[in-house]
């Protein structure tokens, strides 16, 4: 196991390097950063001087090399726009994003899995058909639209919940949390629902699809024959046998929640990494983009590693071929 993890960490370095490489090969297509860094009156000479100073004229491979070297020393440079260390900016934002994606992931699982089991058991049931259909409305409408509608309803019409931002946060060490204040919790509700909606549908439908198959297997039949109560049969035996794909997808989704909750974060002006990132893209803030992508790469490697470990935890038959 340990060797497995070590192997992964080594691979993760390679992954991050590759990501950075690709990233730098791509930045020139994102736009010209200079215009966002200077006023309209700034002369061309000054603009070019700046371009030169930022080393944006070097071939991307050189820029990459420079980045890699500094990054190796934990220095990801300064944001073009904020003129602050990128590490600082990203760290500031991380807590917001992590909390949001955590909550919505929990929501998605807590509702998605039972709903999936239910709809699988009551395949033809009226309620389950209803759930299945409704859940789809959730995914087929753009996140942006859903977000706005929620804001209109709960923020403007009913005025129950805040329409934007993260409310008051409490700082614990470097970590700022919204869990400890009323306004913080209130402002979590709408965004996390918006985010969770999609995950929920996906997970629910996955669980249902898998359950339908597992419920027909002999061991479930035998479990019933042993007189086990339905709960045990459904959740302990059947559900566990559906988990592999669910874990996979949940992992991926969690990853993309953390990385690219862009739309939700911008609709609710949630001060998270996604917002920072999308801003960085539109401002062509290369240092932020680069550092961010690398960080994300790391996240994904880790998440997928955990997923793979969970496979082994869930399914003993997979352990044999891991030495």
């Amino acid at each position: 196991m340990i060797s497995f993890i070590l192997k992964r960490l080594v691979q993760s370095v390679i992954v991050m390097l590759t990501v950075a490489l690709i990233a730098f090969s791509m930045f020139r297509f994102v736009g010209d950063p200079i215009n966002n860094m200077v006023g309209q009156d700034t002369s061309r000479a000054d603009r070019e001087a700046l371009t030169e100073r930022l080393g944006l004229n070097d071939p991307f491979i050189v820029q990459f090399g420079r980045f890699a070297l500094n990054a190796a020393q934990g220095d990801f440079g300064f944001s073009y726009k904020f003129r602050q260390p990128v590490n600082k900016l990203i760290l500031e934002r991380m807590s917001a994003t992590l909390e949001l994606s955590f909550v919505s992931a929990v929501l998605a699982l807590a509702i998605g899995i039972p709903a999936g089991v239910y709809t699988a058991l009551k395949k033809k049931g009226f309620l389950s058909r209803g759930i299945m259909t409704l859940s789809l409305v959730g995914v087929s409408l753009p996140t942006f639209l859903i977000g706005i509608l929620l804001i209109l309803l709960f923020g403007v019409v009913l005025r129950w919940l805040p329409t934007f931002g993260r409310g008051d946060v409490v700082a614990i060490g470097g970590w700022t949390t919204g869990f400890l204040t009323v306004s913080g919790l209130k402002s979590l509700i709408l965004p996390s629902i918006t985010l969770a909606l999609f995950q929920m549908t996906l997970i629910m439908r996955l669980v249902r699809a898998e359950m339908l198959e597992v419920l027909r297997t002999d061991f479930i039949k035998f479990a019933r024959a042993r007189g086990l109560p339905d709960r045990a049969v459904h959740f302990k035996h059947a559900l566990k046998n559906t988990l592999v794909p669910v874990i996979t997808i949940t992992g991926l989704q969690l990853g993309s929640l953390i990385a690219f909750a862009i739309i939700t974060e911008s609709v609710f002006q949630w001060p998270g990494m996604g917002l920072l990132f999308i801003q960085a893209i539109s401002d062509v803030d290369i240092p932020i983009m680069a550092a961010y992508l690398v960080l994300i790469a790391f996240f994904f490697v880790i998440i997928n590693m955990v997923v793979d470990i969970l496979y082994y935890a869930v399914d003993p038959r997979l352990r044999a071929d891991d030495a």
Partner: protein, 506 residues
């Protein structure tokens, strides 16, 4: 009394010399001050300088205000002015243009200075409101003597995250892109109309969210507000839309420089070099329709590249070209394009008010006279990355907006109208390289003419030429729209700047 507001963009730095951008300067204008200040209507009024007078055509004397203190308690004096000016010229500063207006400053005594300009400059003071004054001692203590540059060594400059000005407000806390809190500076040298003691600024990127936040009463003011939402705001109780024309003019330019257009099906020649074609284009576009439908009646169609608020604005030339498709068709035929041609229109889609919509409208209007326009609408970073001089003016037909930084027409002429001229940094935004030597002469003269009457005459002449030659297709002055709660009253400046001095909370 706390005043909470949101703007679409954010305050990227607290360093007044780091970026020459209107929102940043307008905001920091509450913390730092220049020798002169903008009044409620962009008029120039005394600031840190009590008075000034022209000694020789190229030298001015400024009498500095006595007893002004910085937030940190340091006294304001001549050294600070000189220091700040030098700082604007420092590596990494984005105020070099303003600083460049001054050749030298000499200290007469602690509260008197003599400013020397490279050439006679009638409008020097126009350039000073946003040349913000920092404290020498403070900057030296925190070695922030150079402006925060976006690159290289002194990034992470102290002045980037801290401020120490003479303005009525001081920074309480600043979390870039998240929230900035300012509070009243009690020791301010002059008492102000507004009654605000604390200001809370949050950037909100998405317009709908912004508007929602206002209506739900969480904020006292948001801007900008999309034109189509004005009615909604006025209907909603407790809030209303505060609107007015902005000093920014939106216009469309043609590539008249190249011998062959980069993006067109006409090869071997450049249709836009033919005045008739340009005329055909301007006559094909129905500015009224754009105003009514896209701008919901809020814009002011124009025939001039300078807005009324701009110093040197020419009333007589402001009437738009007439809308007349037939004439347009005729002109095209006459020019040898009876059934039009194809050209690509470059357009930003998140820079100006409804920019993409305007471009679409123009596109379909031109289609009606037979010109097939391919619309390439992109976010501003990609758009500017393509069309500006740094990328060699890679466009044939483009939409652009302009507010002269100095609020004077001279800037319009020298940036948009004179021939492109790399060495002297002129005509840098004349992306289509409209070029007429006569106009260049006039512009040069206007730049240094101190006699107002003569100056005005020359300005009129210059703009007349441009208009007759159809150098550009002016569209309109775009509107400013702020969403304001009834709890507060604010003063809306034509440069879209919000001055907390004039905010009162009921």
């Amino acid at each position: 009394k706390t005043f909470k507001f949101a703007f679409q963009g954010d305050l990227s730095s607290l360093d007044p010399h780091s970026l020459n951008e209107s929102f940043l300067l307008a905001t920091l204008g509450n913390v730092y001050e220049g020798l002169v200040l903008y009044g409620p209507d962009l008029e120039i009024m005394p600031g840190l300088a009590e008075s000034w007078k022209l000694l020789t055509p190229t030298t001015w004397e400024f009498k500095l205000r006595q007893g002004v203190k910085f937030h940190g308690g340091q006294d304001f004096n001549a050294d600070d002015v000189i220091f700040s000016w030098q700082r604007t010229l420092s590596e990494g500063s984005d105020q070099k243009v303003r600083g460049g207006q001054i050749k030298n400053i000499t200290k007469v005594d602690d509260h008197t200075i003599v400013v020397e300009t490279p050439a006679p400059n009638p409008i020097l003071v126009q350039d000073l409101p946003y040349l913000l004054i920092m404290d020498k001692e403070w900057s030296e203590e925190n070695n922030a003597t150079n402006a925060t540059s976006a690159a290289g060594d002194n990034t992470g400059n102290y002045a980037n995250l801290n401020a120490n000005g003479t303005g009525p407000f001081m920074i309480e806390s600043h979390k870039a892109d998240v929230k900035t809190v300012l509070k009243r500076h009690e020791g301010y040298w002059k008492d102000i109309e507004g009654n605000v003691t604390e200001v809370e600024f949050t950037p909100i990127k998405e317009a709908p969210t912004r508007v929602a936040a206002l209506i739900s009463g969480e904020l006292d003011m948001v801007y900008p507000v999309p034109v189509q939402d004005w009615e909604r705001l006025d209907d909603a109780d407790g809030v209303s839309a505060l609107t007015g024309p902005e000093a920014r003019t939106i216009f469309i330019g043609f590539d008249q420089g190249r011998d062959e257009l980069l993006y067109s099906n006409i090869k071997g020649k450049n249709p836009f070099k033919d005045q008739r074609v340009r005329a055909a284009f301007v006559h094909a576009v129905d500015l009224e329709a754009i105003k009514e439908k896209i701008m919901r009646g809020a814009a002011t169609p124009t025939g001039l590249l300078a807005a009324p608020q701009i110093n040197g604005f020419v009333e007589s030339l402001n009437t738009p070209y007439e809308y007349n498709p037939e004439k347009s068709k005729a002109l095209l035929a006459e020019a040898g394009y009876p059934d039009g041609f194809e050209v690509t229109l470059d357009c930003p889609n998140n820079r100006y008010v409804n920019d993409e919509k305007i471009c679409q409208a123009v596109t379909s209007m031109l289609a009606k006279v037979g010109v097939k326009v391919d619309l390439l609408a992109q976010p501003k970073s990609k758009y500017f990355g393509k069309v500006l001089s740094t990328s060699g003016y890679d466009t044939s037909f483009y939409l652009l907006g302009w507010t002269p930084g100095s609020m004077d027409v001279e800037n319009v002429l020298s940036s948009l109208i004179v021939c492109q001229d790399e060495e002297n940094k002129r005509g840098m935004f004349n992306l289509g390289n409209y070029c007429n030597p006569k106009v260049d002469e006039l512009t040069a003269a206007i730049g240094s003419e101190t006699d107002q009457a003569k100056r005005t005459a020359m300005i009129e002449e210059a703009f007349k030429i441009v208009k007759d030659e159809v150098g550009y297709m002016p569209i309109h002055q775009q509107p400013i729209a702020w969403g304001v709660s009834d709890r507060v009253t604010v003063n809306q400046r034509a440069d879209n700047g919000l001055d907390y001095r004039y905010v009162t909370v009921k």
